[in-house]
Symmetry: C2
Subunit: 300 residues, 2 copies
């Protein structure tokens, strides 16, 4: 088959779950915009809702007839986009212990194991190569460079350069800029998290990403923004499987963030620089500690 209609299914589920009986639905373009899909897809959703007897559809009139049930939805396995499936599956493999640096990556084998065509795998690998974890030999295979301490060091170096730059730019933002409000909101979220820390400390990584993204956006630099994707994906997949000391780690990071936020709000370049450095140093340490030691390496 040529293409799965996962976008349709996912959008259908997303729209259907929140339908309330006896309400009227908006126009097709409105629905499409709301769901972030084209009108063609929105119409396909309406068509199915109508066929399933969930709505009555007659031109402009779209009335919800009944509360949709779980049985009306597509099963969750059918709504993942191929790209997400491949990403998850691939990251799982390369973060696992079996994955040794220098290992060859076989497109056909990957495709078969994931249950997909080779072109999607190829395109994924090309896209993924910018994360610096794999490398291609022309006319030949991909090689896994691996999640090694070299990788972590190089990542941390660039991250520090970029974040110091972005933080300095943030400090120069004009007083009326939206970013200051966003920063305030993030500060409040930190305090809220701190309140119920024992039960909620796992939510920190989401907040962490949001905070650093806000700072990096201040740099207004596409290369810096793109690079943050690398960091985000590494942290996302890495710490998802490495939950050791999560509580202590997060407690420390929150304290550093609050300091950092205060420094930004002071707009004093030197204070910003200092607070940023403190946080980056501990982030580097956290990252380095989480690297699996390869044979012959000694813990630093």
């Amino acid at each position: 088959m040529a293409r799965q209609n996962t976008l349709f299914k996912e959008a259908y589920n997303r729209y259907t779950v929140r339908l309330k009986p006896d309400t009227e639905l908006p126009s097709e373009p409105d629905i499409a915009a709301e769901l972030g899909v084209s009108r063609s897809t929105a119409r396909a959703i309406l068509m199915r809702l109508s066929d399933a007897g969930i709505i009555l559809w007659n031109k402009r009139q779209k009335t919800v007839l009944r509360q949709p049930t779980q049985a009306d939805l597509f099963p969750k396995e059918e709504t993942d986009s191929l790209h997400d499936i491949i990403e998850r599956s691939f990251m799982m493999r390369i973060m696992s212990d079996e994955a040794q640096p220098g290992m060859q990556i076989n497109e056909l084998e990957l495709a078969r194991e994931i249950g997909t065509g080779t072109s999607v795998v190829r395109e994924f690998l090309i896209r993924f190569s910018r994360f610096g974890l794999i490398e291609k030999r022309p006319n030949s295979h991909w090689t896994l460079k691996g999640f090694t301490s070299e990788f972590a060091l190089e990542l941390a170096d660039v991250r520090e350069m970029f974040e110091l730059h972005s933080a300095a730019e943030f400090g120069r933002l004009p007083p009326g800029h939206q970013a200051w409000e966003d920063l305030k909101a993030i500060e409040r979220e930190h305090h809220k998290l701190l309140k119920d820390f024992d039960t909620h400390y796992r939510d920190f990584s989401r907040l962490d990403e949001k905070f650093h993204l806000l700072i990096h956006r201040a740099s207004n630099n596409r290369f810096i923004a793109d690079f943050y994707d690398v960091i985000a994906i590494v942290f996302h997949y890495h710490f998802q499987w490495n939950k050791a000391f999560a509580r202590e780690r997060n407690a420390r990071a929150i304290a550093e963030h609050l300091d950092y936020i205060e420094a930004l709000q002071s707009r004093d370049p030197q204070r910003i620089d200092a607070a940023c450095r403190v946080h980056l140093a501990s982030a580097r340490q956290t990252l380095m500690q989480s690297i699996p030691l390869s044979a012959g390496e000694v813990p630093g």
Copy 2:
């Protein structure tokens, strides 16, 4: 047809031009290694050389019978890899005046005009996207962001961060390191170029790339090295078409390079930093001046 044998043709030409009559050729693995191809391809070359009566091939004995002529070679159009063809063709389009920022990029149309399949174009665009000049809307088209002043500014900012970092690292390289010799050689090349400057100043860009690459390698950082590709491609295609003031530009750059080299050799961090900054500032200026002004912009 599925795949062009451009690799074979290109390697055949490369090997054939330097054959001398009455010499013996080395073993198949040696030939393959020399040409950077697999033994299968090396054998295909030998087979053709034999069929064309250029060599006598009997197992280990491979004697060159006659001097190959131009007619023995494949025409140059047949030896370009598809990737190179697409890159050239695409860069030509997006650097041309017709290419306006915001313009949509159509995969099928591009493929037709270049005379190739859509998959190659797709993969090229994915790879190319890391240069920050195009952007994809999911399930929809690519958009040309364009070679704008914003692009140049963002590029220059990152370049400066990276090069200052790399130059500092270079200064810390141990005395016996190969890089110091390479630097000396590059210094000599600068002096040589200066001697016949009027006739050879166009060779400068090759030397420039070599010099900066050497510096960036000192950082030992894959992200910095990858980023230098972005700079290299922009300079390569951009200045290929913008030859205005090339002589003055290059003269100035050479002087700055020599200063910069001397600073590196002094290993004095502050001197290195200062010389690097001077050169980067003028490189930035050169880049900014070369940006086509879009409507409404005023020259800075």
